[in-house]
Amino acid sequence: MKFLGLVLKSARRSKRRTALTVLSVAIAVFLFASLRAVLDGFNAGVEGSSSTRIVTQRSTSLFFEMPISHGEAIKSTAGVQDVTWANWFGGVYKDPQNFFAQYAIEPESYLRMYPELLLSPDEKRAFLEDRTGCIVGDGLARNYGFKIGDKITLQVGIPNYGTRDFDFTVRGIYKSGGAPVDNQSMFFHWKYADERSTQKGLAGWYIAVIANPDQAAQVAAAIDRKFANSPFETKTDTERAFQSSFVGMFGNINLLLGSIALAVVITTLFVAGNTMAMSVRERTMEIAVMRTLGFQSATIFLLIAGEGLLMALGGGIVGALLAWLLVNPRVFPTGGFIPEISVNTTNVAIGIGLSAVIGIVAGLIPATMASRLKIVDALRRVA
């Protein structure tokens, strides 16, 4: 600790160089924390999935529907406690660019099974009572300025729903209450969409609540057996697997973001390591004098390494805080099929941790260089 003053003094020796290094580490940590937040955003659906919910869809693919009678059959399967269903609506709000998810749901059972969609009792009642009512996520409401009582008109996207526009009234704005829930979607009454569709009585997918998460595989198999060899064969999986398939749609995001993050770290190591090496070279004479005065080479090592660590940590804190302040939905609204992105405290902590690693690695070679300096040679050398 007693050497902290000395370390700080050396860092102040070239203020500009220190500032540039701190800033470049800050930028790296900013990028790293933001990339982690992007990844978290994509995985939010998977993280938020419940182990007690299983999803049944047509075996062909999600784009094929099933008769509504499947609901009763699923409910009567042993181990199933509750069932609801939903449909993809695929409507267009004013312009095809304004893409957001709209689901036609069986409202009572759906809200019962998804308690993480938080609505006030008044909003909930108003939504259940209004056949053309809808609820929207707080993220969606913020992006489009939707308020309770607003009218939303959607043009039909999927030919099955006819050609006439659908009018909705916003009856509630649901919040996620901190849970990783998609808050950029719109939900409305399945009946409203069904009564105007050309093929009636169809559900896109069923969600069932099961009594025991350990039995998910058995219950799923039992459900699929009921519809085997019918024209509407099903494939039932855990909600987690169902959500993962959406993340997988984008391709290998983990690999892409991972390689970018690696490049960020390497770039910063080059920059920070270079700076440290330069400053050691500049101080060759000084270090030789310190060694002559009796400083151990281990102390010199720690001094130089400590300087690197300090600069990197300073940059890390700046970068992580910047990311935390800037990268959130209020500053960067995402939309459409890109989930909401927000840097959380975990991302901040990982970012600062990363800066420490950068500092240590970048300081290693210059510190070793300094500690191994031969006093006689160094004193003889003219800088």
Partner: protein, 388 residues
């Protein structure tokens, strides 16, 4: 100029480690830049390659994707009889009524289900898309439950090899041929007879009609003829325009994301270059003084240092391009959100992209060298010479 240039070059050699680290930082930025744009480029060219200038695709008015369109069976003969539609030697129209549906199949890599596009096509579809080549087996026989699978789909999904039975749409289909399509999105698809596909998927009508025109220039009169017919609520587009539009959302997303990340990363690398150049100027104060005393002007000194920094950055850029090059041709896949099915594509690094990467590197070098160069030029000659 020769003296200054060789002076800069030799100075770089003297400080080889510092120079290498700086160039290394810039190399990483350029590598990220080139790789992300290679994804955008690859996705776009895969979709654009699907369109032929001589073809037109007819969709329902207002529909911007096949999956959202609908074409009645009765519309097909009306389109086929138009004089702008090319014909085979025996006089049959080159038009293919089509239907696309997405089916879920497990990927080879992770066994996760992903959506594959199945396309029901008319019997002359292979004559209309003339880039399609059956490379293994044969074409499907109309009227039988046979399918042809694109090469990229075979390599990406389980159970699509020649001779396998694939179960979808409540029946079983036999793979009788594998085709290539110059990497176009068709190569990620499964093709079969539309007259069997439509009932298998419980679809009454078609979604689109693709026609080969007599000549690309007849498109306007073809469009006028279709739109002028009161019986048809349809709209033709050039096939190439249609597929280009399909690629816009994804390409823009990747480009914006890639530029955002590389721009921020570039600022970090520029800071690194600035550090290096400031140090270079400080070490060489006396040399700069000598040069000035010999009669080199301030502007020569400024350009010399900016040139040195730019050269260093371009060297980094070359390394970055070399680092990125191996991904060229690697195949990957993502979902085309207009069809909600997976399209395989290859990273594509074009010469232009490499030039852009080098230009970007040069820009970083110039930006990093500017302030240190100005500082170098401002050093008073007398003081510089006195410095040890």
């Amino acid at each position: 100029m020769g003296l200054i240039a060789s002076y800069n070059l030799r100075s770089m050699v003297v400080r080889k480690w510092t120079a290498a680290m700086t160039a290394g930082g810039i190399a990483m930025v350029v590598a990220v830049f080139v790789m992300t744009l290679a994804i955008a480029q690859g996705f776009r060219s895969t979709l654009v390659a699907s369109g032929s200038p001589q073809n037109a695709i007819v969709l329902r008015k207002g529909a911007n994707a096949e999956s959202l369109s609908g074409v009645a069976r009765a519309d097909v003969p009306l389109i086929e009889s138009l004089p702008q539609v090319a014909r085979t030697a025996d006089g049959r129209p080159l038009a293919s009524p089509e239907l696309v549906v997405a089916i879920a199949l497990p990927r080879l890599t992770d066994n996760q289900p992903a959506n594959v596009q199945v396309r029901g096509v008319g019997s002359r579809a292979f004559e209309i898309r003339d880039t399609l080549k059956v490379v293994e087996g044969r074409r499907f026989t109309p009227g039988s439950r046979e399918i042809n699978v694109g090469r990229l789909a075979v390599n990406r999904f389980k159970g699509l090899t020649l001779g396998s039975d694939v179960k979808f749409g409540s029946t079983t289909w036999k793979v009788v041929g594998i085709f290539t399509a110059d990497d176009a999105s068709f190569e990620s698809e499964i093709w079969g007879d539309i007259d069997l596909m439509a009932p298998a998927f419980q679809r009454g009508g078609y979604q689109s009609i693709t026609v080969k025109l007599v000549d690309p220039t007849t498109f306007d009169s073809f469009k006028a003829a279709v739109e002028g017919d009161p019986r048809l609520y349809l709209q033709p587009q050039r096939e190439r325009d249609y597929y280009f539009a399909q690629s816009v959302a994804m390409t823009t997303l990747i480009r914006v994301f890639g530029s955002f990340v590389t721009l921020i990363l570039a600022i970090g690398a520029v800071f690194g270059a600035m550090n290096t150049m400031y140090a270079a100027v400080a070490y060489r104060t006396r040399e700069i003084g000598t040069l000035r005393a010999l009669g080199f002007s301030r502007s020569r000194i400024v350009t010399a240092f900016i040139a040195e920094s730019t050269m260093l950055a371009i060297a980094g850029g070359v390394i970055g391009c070399a680092l990125a090059l191996p991904v060229h041709g690697l195949s990957t896949g993502t979902t085309n959100f207009s069809s909600f099915s997976e399209v395989a594509f290859k990273f594509r690094i074009t010469p232009l992209l490499l030039v852009e990467g080098l230009a970007f590197a040069a820009l970083m070098g110039a930006a990093g060298g500017l302030l240190p160069a100005l500082r170098a030029a401002r050093i008073p000659v007398a003081r510089a010479l006195r410095e040890i």
